[in-house]
């Protein structure tokens, strides 16, 4: 059973007459998401917009019943009625007071879709096609905001975590012979609630359920395993398929009730019968109570037996099998907290050497540690730091030099770091400066004060390598994301939004005008929307498929090479 993600909201209008534009500003009380009880997996196509018969006043749980009208051809799943305010499952009908201006419940399903195409080449020959994608909802609830995106090791699965503690896994369709021109699309494979909000009574603190990171384990059998973490707890989830079910138990009848052995007269052997494919996710391990501060990264070791979790001041090493203890391998907490000057911001294991890992700090430094050197890796083996440019000093120099993400290249030779304005590539063999520095959005340098005021300066952007380590990608504001080709030194800015890209249309490179005359199609710095930021992106491990999370929407772009 797949749980669809829906957003519900109240809107005014006549059922059946509701259009998408009605939904926006007139919605008064967006509600929590509910689970349609009967949905099949692999449903969808593009986003569906379903009008429902309206239910009670805002604030009550609603009764939903699919109306006759569907915006799109969505016939697979049906939302059954559930939860009425009065307790009765009877759906409300149109007749009950549905007059003009009355309230209707609108349910919008978040459905992932398709692929779009893009290419680093700007040749006209290579076409960039953008398929349809999720619609942006103007009143997205905060719980929908995607907080992490990660492909698994083969690229077949894509996992996203959001602020509401949910994990949604997409699976790539097998390519079919019929549609050669369209490569596999990603469809919802499984959705589950990974973390719930918790309350630490001892400290009177609420622990957010937001998924900070997801990391896949390499596949070793038919099931998939992933680690997901919130601020305090890491969980190992097993995602497995079930397409057969046993039938013919002796002691249980078909509904599962126990039978009185005395009534059994014959015995039979249970057989496995095919059933609709069901994907289940079960938590196999919970690694809790090891972090005092907020966990910001997890990284699976190349030995596939251990992993590390890093919080602001400490890094712990875990064994997958052991949940009640972990080893502390880095501890930068000063004896006197008043002397605190830097915190750990990200950490990652080397892709091939299981003894090596790096961690970045808020001061813009990266330390590489070798676990063979000592049990506590407080002393680094290598220390990467670039001297600060004194001409760029400002109030906010420290903030913008804080590294928000560090990633090893697939080869293991380079590391890439992202700070607020730049992406840097470092060679592991050279510690005194990066070998490449790319300006992501240098035009923001003069706006740091405003960005500080609206807290945007604290945004933690991530960065990713492509499969061959030749292109790096990172996000920016206004739903822009940037790619830098390390070999050709070319870069491109693209936008993940539906307004500017029609389905299957070509993704057009964007440009930010930094002053002077603004050319057509350019966007000026002042009109950038800082609420639309792309913090999380992922690149398929071997192909040119990227997943870009823009607030609560997930865009999947694919390169089409013909």
């Amino acid at each position: 059973m797949v749980t669809l993600r829906c957003q519900l909201g109240w809107a005014k209008g006549m059922p059946g007459s509701l259009t998408e534009t009605d939904i926006g500003p007139s919605v008064v009380s967006p509600l929590d998401r509910v689970t349609p009880p009967s949905c099949k997996r692999q449903m969808m196509g593009p986003l569906s917009f379903i009008t429902m018969n309206w239910g009670a006043c805002p604030g009550h749980t609603m009764v939903l019943q699919p109306s006759e009208r569907h915006n799109r051809d969505w016939s697979h799943g049906r939302l059954g009625p559930w939860c009425s305010p009065t307790g009765s499952p009877a759906p409300l009908s149109c007749e009950t007071g549905c007059g003009e201006g009355s309230w209707i419940l609108v349910c919008r399903l978040l459905v992932p879709t398709q692929v779009s195409l893009l290419s680093m080449e700007e040749d006209i020959d290579t076409r960039k096609i953008n398929n349809s994608f999720l619609r942006d909802h103007s009143y997205a609830t905060e719980a929908d905001i995607i907080s992490t995106v990660e492909f698994n090791h083969t690229g077949e699965l894509l996992a996203t975590g959001d602020k509401g503690g949910r994990v949604v896994i997409f699976q790539r369709e097998q390519e079919s012979k019929n549609q050669v021109h369209r490569r596999g699309e990603y469809n919802v494979y499984s959705t589950f609630q990974s973390h719930e909000p918790e309350f630490d009574y001892l400290k009177s603190l609420e622990i957010e359920e937001k998924i900070n990171k997801i990391r896949w384990l390499p596949q070793q059998n038919a099931a998939y395993f992933l680690l997901s973490t919130n601020d305090k707890t890491v969980k190992l989830w097993k995602v497995s398929e079930r397409d057969k079910r046993p039938e013919g138990y002796n002691l249980k009848d078909e509904e599962g009730r126990l039978r009185d052995p005395a009534t059994i007269t014959t015995l039979r052997v249970p057989v496995l019968r095919p059933m609709d494919l069901m994907v289940e996710a079960t938590p196999r391990r919970v690694f809790a109570n090891a972090h005092t501060y907020h966990i910001n990264s997890i990284s699976v070791n190349s030995d596939y037996e251990t992993y590390m979790s890093a919080d602001d001041l400490r890094i712990n090493l875990w064994n997958f099998e052991i949940t009640n203890q972990s080893f502390n391998i880095v501890d930068i907490k000063p004896a006197n907290m008043e002397e605190l000057t830097e915190v750990i911001t990200a950490a990652e294991f080397h892709p091939h050497h299981c003894n090596t890992f790096v961690y970045s700090s808020s001061k813009g430094t990266i330390r590489l540690c070798d676990m063979r050197a000592s049990a506590l890796c407080d002393r680094h083996t290598k220390f990467f730091e670039e001297p600060e440019d004194p001409s760029n000093r400002s109030f906010f120099s420290e903030i913008i030099s804080s590294i928000s993400d560090v990633k090893f290249s697939h080869s293991g030779r380079y590391i890439m770091t992202r700070d607020y304005l730049t992406v840097k590539v470092w060679d592991l063999n050279m510690e005194n400066r990066p070998i490449e520095t790319y300006q992501v959005h240098d035009y923001l340098r003069s706006k740091l004060c405003s960005l500080y005021e609206n807290d945007c300066i604290f945004d933690k952007f991530e960065c990713v390598w492509n499969g061959s380590d030749s292109v790096i990608m990172t996000g920016s504001y206004n739903n822009f994301f940037r790619m830098f080709d390390r070999n050709t030194k070319r870069d491109v800015t693209l936008e993940a939004s539906r307004e500017n890209s029609k389905p299957r249309a070509i993704l057009k490179p964007r440009k930010v005008c930094v002053g002077g005359k603004r050319r057509k199609d350019e966007i000026s710095v002042d009109s950038l929307d800082f609420s639309k930021k792309i913090l999380h992106t992922a690149w398929h491990p071997s192909e040119n498929i990227i997943a870009v999370a823009a607030t609560n929407n997930l865009y999947i772009f694919q390169d089409k090479v013909n």
Partner: protein
């Protein structure tokens, strides 16, 4: 001058962020608050490294340490230095509402990045009198002084003592310099501020010698008594330490600044303070458990000596 204004504004914003971080879901975030405190420190430094650095070392009385843009007059009461109304609420908040004697000049040590607190306090049109700015400043000062005698319960921002608070005995901008844990000792031990002219020590700005405050048992608010009393002590000490130690001093202060701020949050920082019950529980996020957590939900102090600092705990409550 623009720098000063800018610095001031940044300080206010930073204080606002620190304040709001208390109510954020998920607890106080160590990283973000660390960055905010660094900005605060930078802004404070800029603010103090005013175009007239030489004035800071001017002798007591009459040295117009106040930024040139502010007319300095030792008027009592917060002058509308910035053209903004004095914070009325501020005074009310503090039990001890002595009129803020104007400090002729704020001999803020050049290295001290004290945002404005010292300056405005000196009155003389110095510094922000803007209601909220001042409150922000007050908060800043409170924050800075580890042992800040927080007024009981009232939001720091409402601290009338703002202006006063800013004034440490030694006139150093609150914060940073204080070495935590040195209870009772002259908090200004490392203060290299030039002697304050009128040490008019404003009635015990809570900020005053945190330790002293503690000792004085300033609970619900700044105690006027101790402050004046302590100032004479301060003065000689201050004078003797007139010469800043330079970079080294700077280092200490800087760390201290951040640390003090960190103490404010309480959370995640194995704080040096033990809060009185009900104080700052919400800041206990990330608190080390075990030995440091003497009482659940409270910030425990590594150094028992700080236990007695009631004013500080009340300051924490404000946060």
């Amino acid at each position: 001058m623009e720098f000063k204004l800018e610095a001031h504004r940044i300080v206010s914003i930073s204080l606002g962020k620190i304040y709001n971080s208390r109510v954020q879901r998920g607890g106080i975030k160590l990283h973000k608050n660390l960055l905010v405190s660094l900005v605060l420190r930078s802004a404070r430094q800029v603010y103090l490294s005013d175009p007239c650095p030489g004035l800071y070392l001017a002798g007591p009385a009459g040295s117009p340490a106040a930024p040139p843009q502010q007319p300095g007059e030792p008027a009592a009461g917060p002058p509308a230095g910035w053209g903004e109304p004095p914070p009325p609420a501020a005074c009310a908040a503090w039990p001890e509402t002595e009129p803020q004697p104007e400090r002729p000049a704020d001999p803020a040590p050049p290295r001290v990045g004290a945002a404005e607190p010292a300056a405005p306090v000196t009155g003389a049109g110095d510094a922000l009198r803007a209601g909220e700015v001042e409150e922000a400043e007050a908060a800043w000062r409170r924050v800075e002084g580890p042992r800040e005698a927080a007024e009981g319960g009232a939001g720091v921002f409402a601290g009338a003592e703002g202006p006063r608070g800013a004034r440490r005995h030694c006139g150093c901008p609150p914060g940073g310099e204080d070495r935590p844990g040195a209870l009772g000792a002259c908090p200004r031990v490392d203060c290299r501020c030039a002697p304050r002219p009128a040490e008019d020590e404003p009635p015990a700005p809570p900020a005053v010698g945190p330790r002293k405050r503690g000792a004085a048992g300033v609970g619900g608010g700044p105690a006027g008594g101790p402050a004046p009393g302590s100032s004479p002590l301060k003065k000689p000490r201050r004078n003797s330490e007139e010469q800043p130690g330079g970079a080294e001093e700077e280092e200490e202060m800087e760390t201290g600044n951040v640390a003090n701020l960190i103490s404010i949050f309480g959370s995640s920082f194995s704080g040096l303070l033990r809060k009185s019950p009900g104080g700052g529980r919400e800041e206990a996020e990330g608190e080390e458990s075990g030995p440091e957590a003497a009482e659940p939900g409270q910030i425990c102090c590594d150094k028992p000596v700080l236990r007695d600092i009631n004013p500080w705990s009340t300051a924490i409550v404000a946060f």
